[in-house]
Symmetry: C2
Subunit: 470 residues, 2 copies
């Protein structure tokens, strides 16, 4: 009942009289709202400081800013300062420095802190997810459907080779070199397949190479191999479970994904004109932004509901709206939103990365590290070769395409999570997959910059001339 | 570990195989993350549709858009469609249409839905709170410290009269007319004191009157009476508890609030120059926006920690940054963020308003409605007179100032909440306070427009010439 600010002030007041038993006794958990907000505010401040310090330092060192944001996240996260923590980590609310500060400031009990920690983490996680949704929406807005169409075949071949090569190399290598049983080897091989589109597209955008032919091939291939990765996961998980492949589910995923991506583009042709007509008719604030964002959120929701990733929906929405006359204006308005939400994503990615698994002093890490070294090699080589699978584009920067596909992310970690939950993966193999994801993520931005820098001198002219000024 | 997207895909996959017991069994609640995100996306889409439909309709009817957003919220909230619900309502997850849709889409069990509902509501509530924080930050940016200083005395007198008049009228009236005992009467009288700054400032901004003398007096007075309201609450609550006033706490609040507001402005004079220097040195995206927003969030956090409202901190931060050369640029970048966050606040305010208490067919509402009618009268008259307390500003629109102070909000509801939790207020009196808050909130925007429209013809020239184009 009109009480948005209610939780805040009530618990602030509760806190002003910590000795009032009747207030405390009748206080449901939602009345900790003030402290949840305080926790979120403090977390956001920490995240922004880490992202700016890291990003600026990275820029000064001539590295992509996103690398600094990731490292900034590592510094404030589970691996170092324990400022930004998440319940998924084995360490709980007790180890979060921010929660400790709130506990001290508010004289809160253990139960309150656990509740506040859960809620605050949930809010930051959702903000991070909204961040990557906005990032992909923006990438979609900056991508050109026609340009993407021109490189469609190349993107598809890069995606297919980039899924097949690391999968086969990884599985065969694990069986023959490390005597891993077939099922876990297949699982780990599958974990090597999907590129993390977020990292790569952000680096490309930062470097002004998003609209180059290479950039468009990489983005297209990353979108396709994200879908392929989800399908491979479906196959492998049902193989691990029953020893058989649930064909129906695989067909459902393939049909669903294709229908979604193609359908959204076709629908987009129709929606374009009506979108502009609607935006022109609106007279209140946010006349352009709110309809555009609503469309992106609807697409993200639909993608998530049909078991694709929400970010694919946002990307499709961006592609569609890129076709309208309002593109420029929309770009401009989405930028500040992206500026404040996207760093939350990259910093939390860093904050959640537990570099503890890299410590060779811990005995149980060592077996994992050796396998990890192998997986990292396969992860890099298996994607690097994709550049040389591109045909019909003479003079293209093949190394850049290969390098652009290197970073792994979400889908790889889903494999590690399901694999260990189901008992298919033992602890060293699971740790090795996590190490592979961390290393490829952190390695790709500087490598990508390196390979693209070569191009700037030689072949940048073939790219979009606008991209250099981005 | 790098698993921002992890929760999403894992639970999507879980869902793809609802019959896999080992996955479900080892799934902690955080793995419902995908559905939490889906719930948030669907809620945001609903909120944006309601806000745009309501706002545009309101605009077409020549009413302030914010009124339409509030009504849009009522339509999708607890009073009507049950789309956007909150756990504070007596109706739970079972009655939320969005949760029902997710349950159907994901074949989720009861426990999952309760968890998802809690998390989704927490996220939407925090987004709404961030919305009002950004709104007050923007209002601060649009306000001018010097202009505000010029009307400082007037604002103070309006605030003091606007706290004293409804408090005395309300308390005495309840005791003499309704034979309410003294303590509950004092409590209810105190609930009439604090103006809701969010509603009023948004209407002023929408109408382009924020920078007029009247606008600045209203905003200044609303800020001061928010602080006064928090102090009154401290006095009344300790009176209700022990029969005595905890003077130490009252002094602490007064000193704290004054120190915070004055300190932030003094500190601002110093921070201004270093802020511009910092922003100029940054080379990565969001170079201006992120430092500014971080400052606003720090101030909001500090205000919240010293038991003021977070929005007062954000307002102070906006005032301070308004003094910099970067004001225009910052204004422009904050606008899209405000466009997407502020509607969440107003729509949830509407969604949380339970108009059920207005239904005279329910017997227990009737006693409350009669008292409510009295409280509403006092709430309006008690603030209207403040316009005539302004001296030294000949030709000022006194009615507009009085009307601008009418909407009550958060603090009034805190009184209702604490009062009913402690047993000081009986059910009719509590309901009457809630009805008073709802009615004054919905009444103020059209009334304010009406009184300001008179002015547009006659005295708008005395205001900021820029304001008309806002």
């Amino acid at each position: 009942m009109l009480n948005v600010g209610f939780d805040i002030s009530l618990s602030q007041l509760m806190d002003a009289w910590p000795s009032v038993p009747w207030v405390v006794a009748t206080t449901p958990p939602s009345e900790y709202g003030s402290w949840v907000l305080a926790g979120v505010l403090l977390s956001l401040v920490t995240i922004y400081l880490a992202s700016k310090l890291g990003g600026e330092l990275s820029k000064r060192l001539n590295l992509p800013p996103v690398l600094g944001e990731l490292v900034g996240g590592v510094v404030i996260g589970i691996s170092a300062l324990h400022l930004i923590m998440f319940p998924e980590n084995t360490l709980g609310a007790n180890n979060s420095v921010i929660m400790g500060a709130l506990q001290w400031l508010g004289d809160l009990d253990e139960q309150a802190i656990v509740h506040i920690f859960q809620s605050e983490s949930e809010v930051i996680s959702v903000l991070a997810e909204l961040g990557v949704i906005i990032l992909l929406f923006e990438i979609g807005l900056e991508s050109d459907l026609r340009e993407l169409g021109k490189v469609g075949y190349q993107a598809a071949i890069v995606a297919v080779v980039g899924v097949a090569a690391p999968f086969l190399l990884g599985t065969v290598g694990l069986v023959s070199l490390f005597s891993v049983p077939v099922i876990p080897a297949v699982f780990a091989g599958a974990a090597l397949t999907a590129t993390s589109i977020g990292i790569t597209s952000k680096v490309l955008s930062d470097l002004g190479h998003l609209k180059s032919t290479e950039g468009q091939i990489i983005v297209g291939a990353a979108v396709i191999d994200d879908v392929l990765g989800i399908i491979v996961l479906a196959v492998v998980a049902s193989l691990a479970k029953t020893g058989e492949v649930d064909l129906l589910n695989v067909v459902y995923l393939i049909v669903g994904a294709s229908a979604f991506l193609l359908g959204s583009i076709l629908l987009g042709k129709f929606f374009n004109t009506s979108f502009v007509a609607i935006a022109d008719k609106l007279q209140t604030r946010g006349a352009l932004l709110i309809p555009a964002l609503t469309f992106a959120l609807v697409m993200a929701f639909l993608a998530s509901v049909i078991h694709l990733e929400a970010i694919l929906g946002a990307f499709a929405a961006g592609l569609v709206l890129d076709e309208t006359d309002k593109r420029k204006e929309l770009d401009q308005q989405v930028m500040p939103i992206s500026d404040i939400l996207v760093p939350i994503f990259f910093v939390t990615v860093g904050a959640k990365a537990d570099l503890g698994v890299l410590n060779p002093a811990v005995a149980e890490n060592r077996a994992g590290l050796i396998i990890a070294a192998f997986l990292i090699g396969v992860a890099i080589v298996g994607k690097l070769v994709t550049g040389w699978a591109v045909w019909g584009k003479p003079g293209i920067n093949r190394a850049a395409i290969g390098v652009g596909m290197i970073p792994r992310g979400e889908v790889g970690l889903v494999f590690a999570g399901i694999g260990s939950a189901s008992g298919v993966l033992d602890r060293p193999l699971e740790a090795a997959i996590i190490v592979m994801v961390i290393i490829t993520t952190f390695l790709a931005p500087p490598l990508l910059q390196l390979t693209l820098k070569d191009q700037s001198g030689a072949e940048a002219i073939t790219g979009d001339p606008l991209s250099a000024t981005e």
